[in-house]
């Protein structure tokens, strides 16, 4: 069985056919070649595959592509502003919020959703908010700093 779906990915309308068992991350990486989104575990644990589905952070390995029919998807490739880095990307760069970078795309997508939704971002809220994203390298310290820095800068920019 294959199903015709239409969705918007990073502002571009995509019309394609997928088999029902295709996950959203497979559609993104293998069909659309948007390989910025990573697959760490493929078992809903690590958050490396996090993208925005209609503005909310989701694990794209745990969403079927057919479930995204009619939706808007934003991936790490879609967040840069006017040719430059998104403030969250810039803050990760500046605060050294990554080492190997494997978790980073997912971390950034979760962090943007968190900052967009929560006003009062103390360290505990950030750590709780990123609980669905696992990093094997950094020890999280600089990730928390980066999110705090970006939160300050994203204010007044008009959230996503």
């Amino acid at each position: 069985m294959s199903i015709d779906i239409t969705l918007t990915v990073n502002g571009r309308e995509i019309n394609t056919e997928v088999s029902p068992e295709t996950t959203l991350v497979q559609l993104l990486r293998e069909h659309l070649l948007l390989t910025g989104t990573h697959v760490g575990c493929d078992t809903s644990q690590c958050g490396a595959c996090t993208v925005h589905l209609d503005g909310r952070a989701v694990k794209s390995c745990t969403v079927l592509a057919v479930q995204a029919d009619g939706s808007e998807v934003t991936t790490i490739e879609g967040i840069a502003v006017a040719g430059g880095l998104h403030p969250m990307q810039a803050a990760f760069h500046q605060c050294h919020g990554l080492q190997c970078g494997f978790c980073t795309a997912g971390m950034i997508m979760s962090a943007i959703d968190l900052v967009t939704r929560e006003d009062d971002l103390d360290e505990a809220t950030i750590r709780k908010g990123l609980a669905g994203n696992i990093c094997r390298c950094t020890g999280y310290h600089n990730i928390v700093k980066a999110v705090q820095m970006a939160a300050g800068q994203m204010e007044g920019r008009g959230h996503e």
Partner: protein, 265 residues
Amino acid sequence: MYSFNYSKPDTIEAAREMMRSAEDGIYLAGGQTLIPAMKQRLSAPTDVIDLSSIGELTDIDVSDGRVRLGALVKHADVAGSDAVRSAIPALADLAAGIGDAQVRNRGTIGGSVANNDPAADYPAALLGLGASVHTDQRQIPADDFFVGLFETALEEGEIITQVAFPVPDRAAYAKFPNPASRYATVGVFIGVRDGVTRVAVTGAAPCAFRSAEIEAALNAEISARSLDGITIGADDLNNDIHASAEYRAHLVTVMAKRAVTALPK
């Protein structure tokens, strides 16, 4: 994942019909349990029937002393609903503590309740508040709904449409989360309404249950002190790599005390 047929009906009737004609059909809500289970081939349905287009299942209604949550209401929506939070803050907090943000953005109350994972949070709230599960066929009191390990009173093809919680005078939930998944190693929900205290325990046993001993102690006096000396038997409790049965038994009274202490005055 094995291949399967996928459909997305707009109405409950159409969903029921698709389920009837499927060889081995299964409903899909948020997919946060079903999709991982299908990847592991623990579940291998021929037909996946996606309920997400059935609009009437997404309503949150707080009125007449009841909080009514449509089956498709997501954990994040419960956590973020001012109406739910002002009526039953413990329920909003419970939802805010399920899994992680991404899981809360997809997972639904209907899926959680239908799945009846022994470590899930919602079953404790349903039992502790004396909620009822509404389906396309009937209403089932929570006390009769959770039957056993991953087992509920739902009949073949029956669809949960809504969960209705009576607003309590006071309620609180305390959970000892598994640090990796945030599922409850043990969670205790206490609801007090019209002078009657209900105490529900999740995570400890194969199925969430009400603790008659703790209820009796708290119905005598609602204080953490009245739980001193109560010991829960470990015989029928879960024993796994995360916690031994004895440890879980101990956690039940510890979490019950924390929940009592957290009850709003």
